[in-house]
């Protein structure tokens, strides 16, 4: 019979060894310190914090009841918002195909193109849609064109990255089989690579469309078209009942978008 003390070097059972305990305690201490540092040094006017529940109540009180007198033009702009998201997603999907192809290690022609592909993906992904929109509003002027291009630029990185990863994970045997029969490069892509990444392709495109629907609702705040322009206008003129209608319209749009994308995902995948 070996006792617990002989096996583990201590009398009583506990879940963690002393070393583990020390490490856990250390991690907790670091987290707690970080929180106290943040709380202690952040420049918050505490009077505003204590005041905030009544301010929020006041704001929502002013929003009620929502003013639907402008509903017609809100719905028209909402449709424009959907068009921005859909069109930009479609363009981004088309542009991201070659980018994904050169950013995947197993299909890229050479090292230079691999790094070019990765550079495009990283720079597209790291800059937020709003910042892209600021830039394109300066170039194209206010309007939905800037919005479409901004969303497209941000989406290329997202779709390209996930698609590139899917290409890197394909089964290489169909590719080899086709190459062995003397198929051209184009046919290898069309018959060995495309069918394998098709499910990921659709899943990513639908997911990004869903995200873009949300992002296109804020483009208007920097002048790049869509429902955000009306929201900004209503807030700037303290027309809270109309702002409430716009917010409800956005909520309905996003929920509808989620239902549509869930339906498409079930049908296609």
């Amino acid at each position: 019979m070996t006792g617990i003390s002989e096996q583990f070097g201590r009398e009583d059972w506990s879940r963690h060894t002393p070393k583990e305990k020390a490490r856990r305690f250390g991690i907790f201490a670091v987290c707690a310190l970080a929180v106290f540092w943040a709380l202690g040094s952040i420049e918050i006017i505490w009077a505003w914090v204590w005041d905030s529940p009544s301010q929020m109540a006041d704001l929502f009180g002013r929003m009620y009841p929502p003013d639907t007198s402008n509903l017609g033009s809100i719905l028209r702009v909402l449709w424009e918002t959907v068009n921005i998201a859909t069109f930009a997603t479609a363009l981004a999907v088309i542009v991201s195909l070659p980018v994904a192809y050169i950013a995947a290690q197993n299909t890229t022609p050479n090292r230079a193109t691999l790094w070019l592909g990765r550079l495009i993906l990283v720079s597209s992904r790291s800059v937020n849609t709003i910042i892209w929109a600021l830039l394109f509003v300066a170039i194209f002027g206010p309007g939905i064109v800037a919005g479409v291009v901004a969303i497209m630029f941000r989406s290329i990185g997202f779709i390209g990255k996930l698609l590139g990863e899917a290409i890197e994970e394909i089964d290489t045997r169909p590719v080899e089989a086709l190459e062995a029969t003397g198929a051209s490069r184009f046919k290898v892509i069309a018959y060995a690579i495309v069918p394998q990444v098709m499910p990921t392709f659709w899943a990513v495109a639908i997911l990004r469309w869903d995200i873009n629907l949300r992002e296109s609702t804020v483009l208007g705040l920097v002048g790049a078209g869509g429902i955000g322009i009306i929201l900004q206008g209503a807030i700037d003129t303290f027309n809270w009942p109309e702002a409430a209608t716009v917010l409800l319209a956005i909520l309905a749009l996003v929920v509808l978008g989620e239902i549509v994308s869930a339906f498409l995902r079930r049908r296609i995948l």
Binding site: V35, I45, L59, T86, F87, F140, L221, G228
Partner: protein, 264 residues
């Protein structure tokens, strides 16, 4: 002789030919119509390219002269992200329990789901605008915004994880006569803890990234510094800020990825 063709053809994407052509034509008509109604003013674009040239010309070389402002902005973003993550995750846990079908009664379940849907539906920038109007400019509005943003993601993922737990442990606790709270603490928490920690780290990273954006509408942090630089035509400082934001995002993504890999 059978009528089978002797060359193989790729099976079409949609089997029903009528539906297939309807979908293709519909998509073509829709995108054609959107493209045709796209109001591109080429004269404006030509001017705009010149203007973009001026912006980029003013932005190069990036100026790190006012590094102090840059560091202050970043520290504020970091503080906002930390506090929002703590607050958001703390609120997410009860909401996730409310929104998990297997542990919550039906009315509570609907309430939990509704909270998550509302938190997820609004882009953080919209939430930020409303909070800035309600509680004033500054980091507090940023913290509130990112708390809402965190609830939308963490509570949703956590609720899905709770719905996937092994229910045997809950049943064992109930059979032993444990009260509701003890069942949660001893049967459910240990099962969702790894996911919970992973989500928290991911959300911290995500909040840091989002805090750069919500600052543009006045919710504090590095985004506010960036918006100020843009507003004062300090394009070289704006470019410096953007470069540092991108670098910090890449580093924080790498760190959070490493930690999550080691936990999982």
């Amino acid at each position: 002789m059978s009528q089978h063709p002797d060359t193989w053809r790729k099976p079409p994407f949609i089997a029903n030919p009528l539906l297939r052509w309807a979908v293709y034509l519909g998509a073509l008509a829709y995108f054609g119509w959107v493209a045709a109604t796209m109001p591109i003013d080429w004269a404006r674009v030509a001017q705009g390219i010149e203007r973009a040239g001026r912006i980029f010309g003013g932005a190069f070389p990036p100026s790190f002269e006012r590094g102090g402002l840059l560091i202050d902005g970043f520290l504020e973003s970091l503080k906002i992200a930390i506090l929002a993550t703590v607050g958001g995750v703390a609120l997410s846990i009860p909401i996730a329990f409310m929104a998990a079908r297997n542990v919550a009664p039906l009315p509570v379940f609907y309430l939990g789901r509704a909270i998550i849907i509302i938190a997820r539906s609004f882009h953080p920038v919209i939430v930020a605008i409303i909070f800035v109007k309600a509680v004033g400019f500054g980091p507090f509005a940023g913290v509130l915004t990112l708390v809402v943003y965190s609830i939308g993601f963490v509570a949703k993922m956590l609720a899905e994880r709770i719905e996937e737990i092994d229910f045997g442990q809950v049943e064992a606790m109930r059979a032993a006569g444990a009260p509701y709270l003890s069942t949660l603490v001893y049967a459910i928490f240990p099962q969702i803890m790894p996911r919970q920690i992973g989500l928290t780290i991911y959300q911290l990273d995500s909040n840091l990234r989002a805090s750069a954006v919500v600052g543009i509408v006045g919710a504090g942090g590095i985004g506010a510094t960036l918006a100020n630089a843009f507003g004062r035509y300090d394009y070289d400082f704006a470019l410096a800020i953007t470069i540092v934001i991108v670098a910090v995002i890449l580093v924080s993504e790498a760190i959070s990825g490493q930690i999550r890999k080691r936990i999982a």
